[in-house]
Symmetry: C2
Subunit: 238 residues, 2 copies
Amino acid sequence: MKLEHGAHLTGEDRAVLHDLCGRTHQVSANEDIIGEGERPENVHLVMEGFACRYKLLSDGKRQIMALLVPGDFCDLHIAILGEMDHSIGTGWGCTCVKIPRATINDLTTNHPRIARALWWATLTDEGTLREWLVNMGQRRADKQMAHLFCELLVRLQTVGCADEDSFEFPISQSDLADTLGVTPVHVNRVLQELRAQNLIVWRSKRLQILNVERLKAFCDFNPNYLHLTRRANGDSSE
Amino acid sequence: MKLEHGAHLTGEDRAVLHDLCGRTHQVSANEDIIGEGERPENVHLVMEGFACRYKLLSDGKRQIMALLVPGDFCDLHIAILGEMDHSIGTGWGCTCVKIPRATINDLTTNHPRIARALWWATLTDEGTLREWLVNMGQRRADKQMAHLFCELLVRLQTVGCADEDSFEFPISQSDLADTLGVTPVHVNRVLQELRAQNLIVWRSKRLQILNVERLKAFCDFNPNYLHLTRRANGDSSE
DNA sequence: CGCTATCTTGATAACGTTCAACTATGGTGG
DNA sequence: CCACCATAGTTGAACGTTATCAAGATAGCG
């Protein structure tokens, strides 16, 4: 729950949040957490492993629109929007917590700092989505992939799930292909390039970045869109 | 302000919203509304014309990440996130309203239905962003462009800025290229294809869709991500 | 009327796809 | 412990989509 970079939380806030994490729930590989069109009763929070937002097209293609790591909410928006416009699944297994809608409503009305942090979480999700769009539109597959790796390293580090230069990365090349919007064959070839340039090593489900600074420079990585610097401009409002 | 599909507003709510629209402000072409890195004091709302979110890369490339039409907010998030992670501009001139941060804070705390509608607005922005990602990742340039045209028709219709099959579309082919993530030359060729198939006419800054149903079928358009159906599942919460 | 932007066209090259086959790898049951 | 199987990763060749570069045509604006 270290994800709360979005607001200055008090000890009491942390205790409230900690209580939520009781009943975890194992989601097995290839099982969806929520399907498109559903109206889930609970809000889901990833605790361990990866999940992803995705859409299937009528021709069978799949686009992964977000990778959710520990601390990320799957469907905070469902209380406002009617039904899901995409699915959330995990091809790799993950554990998550189900939080009743009522609890979320309570948090947002009675715990202003937590409400602010949740607000922050959805806004950084949106910032990430924008950066992914830039990534797909303007960067070639090699830099796009490098950019994703840099992002994941930073995001996983902030929740204690990555060390200095590596992290567990259990997804397949096909999944990565659906994330980047290219074919699995091309992913394979780009990976070989990155390996040949001594930028990364990826084996036995662990991705290691051999020289983080060089990889960041390679893809022109700027983490400002993650909004991780704890805000300096006072708490404003509220 | 018809954009309030997100909640059932009362007459009083509407009056409050209407009062905001007093001091409109003309933004000339090529003038930014907000630049990346800024911390704007006001929240901006588009009243007429188009604006866009964009990022510039170090190599001079530009990606447009959103087209903002009348009724869209530019920077509702700025009270929570520290600084802008992208710029907002208009290459075409538009009029917008500046709403002080304090007013927004007042709305969100004292007018629950309006707060809900604002919440809805940012969530549909996010949904749109996700659909654009699918569009770029999985669809060829021709279908991608068709999809964008379908989306704009629907969005502009909901705010009374489009008729049955056409709308003002003052942007250049280059701008469209930066939106779709392709080159201007390719945009030109794709447009010719769409024209040759009698799907669209685009001249003197007006885009007409000759057969809306055929264009929607062509690009497999499903507007569910815009969440425009006024919600039927009760007002829940609050 | 002329200037500048934008749009259009052609030729060539690069990036990414497709299809098909082949090679690892990891898990399972014998 | 090994043989087997299914899945994931790798390779090659041909093809299609989009990029690049450069030039020419059109249209909008003062």
